[in-house]
Amino acid sequence: MGKKRKQSEVAVLEKKEEEVAPERPKRTLSGWKEKKDDDEVKPSESTAVFRNKEKVLVTCSRRISYRYRHLMLNVVDLMPHCKKDNKVDSKSSNGATLNELVELKNCSSCMFFECRKGKDLYLWMSKCPNGPSVKFLVNAVHTMEELKLTGNHLKGSRPILTFSSDFDKDAHWKLLKEMITQIFGIPKEHRKSKPYHDHVFVFSIVDDHIWFRNYQISVPHNESDKIARGGLDKMTLVEVGPRFCLNPIKIFGGSFGGPTLYENPFYISPNQIRALEKKKKAGTFVKKVKAKTRRKMHELENPLEADEFSEMWKE
């Protein structure tokens, strides 16, 4: 408690200082935790002043299946700047409650894993006070526990984010890229982060989906000292996981709601796909019945003529 009070005091102090002398040495600012959001940072301050204070709330809906829960836990493992919260009741979770929750937890963005019918996973990413929010359908999930993914890396080391060039093609991809960098990037000098970089995230757009991969950067041990020259060529990557594929459905103006800014024109919900499949299966029987009735009608319409020889051999 004492700490918090101190912070608020400091904030007040800082504001006062800024009012009096805006060009004060940056030392005071960079040293303290400030309660302002990142986008409020004034442009007059020099580059060193910018501090990323992103905090991500990670939650899921009730009745999430274990696989998706594990995926969520993997994400929590990868992001030391996140806060995990209890499951939220999916039915009652309209935007307001979630927004409240995020505010309560002092977070600036939120990842919400919503599981429907125990099989479909939707992922909400939102910038919380008033930023946009995105809803994804998550496909092709592989968690970190799988034994095929053999890599390992430091917990809390800052990842290098790589984006394919497709992210600059359209407005909504640009927005998604910005959101992803803010949510997945670990703030510099975060207290739980580690000062080295030994893994890399891949965000790539293939087939209008965002594919996520996480690789460990491994360099042969004896080479790591002279990595500057030869080691760079010998650098290999080992996959750590998790893997998933995000299909953007909608982008909203507010956080968990608000006006729709973008709608994926190609999207079909998994419910529709299943319904179609069912219908198709039902179709075979219907077809058979139809064929039978058609045949009957045909026979009734064109009756056979009585065979003139049918009585011939009876005598």
Partner: protein
């Protein structure tokens, strides 16, 4: 209730745009086989879809970090994707991701290096990892098991191949031997012919071969002219007589010996044992009973 309502709505939509969806469904099934869950798409973009570019750009401006925020904060790298990647081809897709990651790390490494920031962790830096040690142990054991499996399969394959090869070699050898034999016989015949043509001349020159085939010797049985020997018989009638005491038994004899026994004392075979004594099958029942009666009286 909410769910059922929703579904019914879905179905209504379906019936409205039936033809359109039928095609989609047929396309979807083949795709689903290749990729779990399946990435199903509409064939044509729906026209109702909202796309508010200005709104999006506004939002982007709202949330994005100030311009002066250094690259160190983002650590993001953009990589050109050279060509379109087929989604359903898992290998090329993963390769594309891998190359993207590798290029990204190289670029990032150069940038970090120029800034003088640490990149990889030093050897003696130990800290908590994302995956626990026990999990990594499992990963390792699985890798080992797989390696072993591969090795075993390799060995089996090799053994199979070597067996095949040795068989071939054996066959080759047998062939060669047969050929050799034939050649030998051939040469002998040739030699004989030559000798006959030359009228058995040069016999007194004292060469060994000539001596061995000398006709007039009393102790040498003539191989050539034996009575009752068929002209084609190479053994010179010996096979028929069976006079030659070979070390080997004929095959039939061997089989019979193994069946009925051979050698050893006859007595032990003929003696009674407990089993044979108790076995009364061979006796006439009537005679046994009558005998007992007699004894009683």
């Amino acid at each position: 209730m909410g769910v059922s309502n929703k579904e019914s709505r879905l179905f209504n939509e379906d019936s409205m745009e039936e033809d359109d969806f039928e095609e989609v469904g047929s396309g979807s099934e083949s795709e689903e086989d290749s990729e779990e869950e399946g990435d199903v798409k509409l064939d044509e973009p729906s026209k109702k879809a909202v796309y508010n570019r200005d709104g999006i750009m506004d939002k982007l401006g709202d949330i994005s970090w100030p311009e002066n925020a250094g690259w160190v904060h983002k650590l993001s790298v953009d990589i050109d994707q050279e060509q379109k990647v087929d989604v359903n081809d898992d290998l090329t897709r993963e390769l594309a991701f891998y190359t993207q990651a590798l290029e990204g790390t190289r670029k990032a490494f150069e940038k970090l290096q120029s800034m003088g920031l640490p990149f990889l962790r030093p050897e003696d830096y130990y800290a908590e990892m994302v995956k626990s040690d026990s999990h990594m142990e499992r990963v390792k054991s699985r890798l080992l098991v797989e390696k072993k499996k591969i090795e075993e399969a390799d060995e089996r394959r090799k053994a199979r191949e070597s067996k095949k090869l040795s068989k071939e070699i054996q066959a080759q050898k047998l062939k060669e031997r047969a050929k050799q034999k034939k050649e030998d016989i051939e040469s002998v015949k040739k030699w004989r012919k030559q000798r006959q043509q030359s009228g058995f001349a040069g016999g007194d020159k004292g060469s060994e071969l000539d001596l061995a085939f000398e006709d007039g010797k009393p102790f040498e049985r003539s191989n050539k002219k034996r009575p009752f020997v068929a002209p084609g018989d190479r053994s010179g009638g010996k096979a028929r007589q069976g006079g030659k005491p070979t070390g080997k038994k004929p095959k039939k004899r061997e089989i019979k010996d193994s069946k009925f026994g051979y050698g050893g004392r006859k007595g032990s075979k003929k003696q009674n044992m407990a089993e044979t004594t108790n076995d009364l099958r061979g006796f006439n029942k009537d005679s046994l009973t009558s005998g007992n009666k007699k004894r009683k009286r």
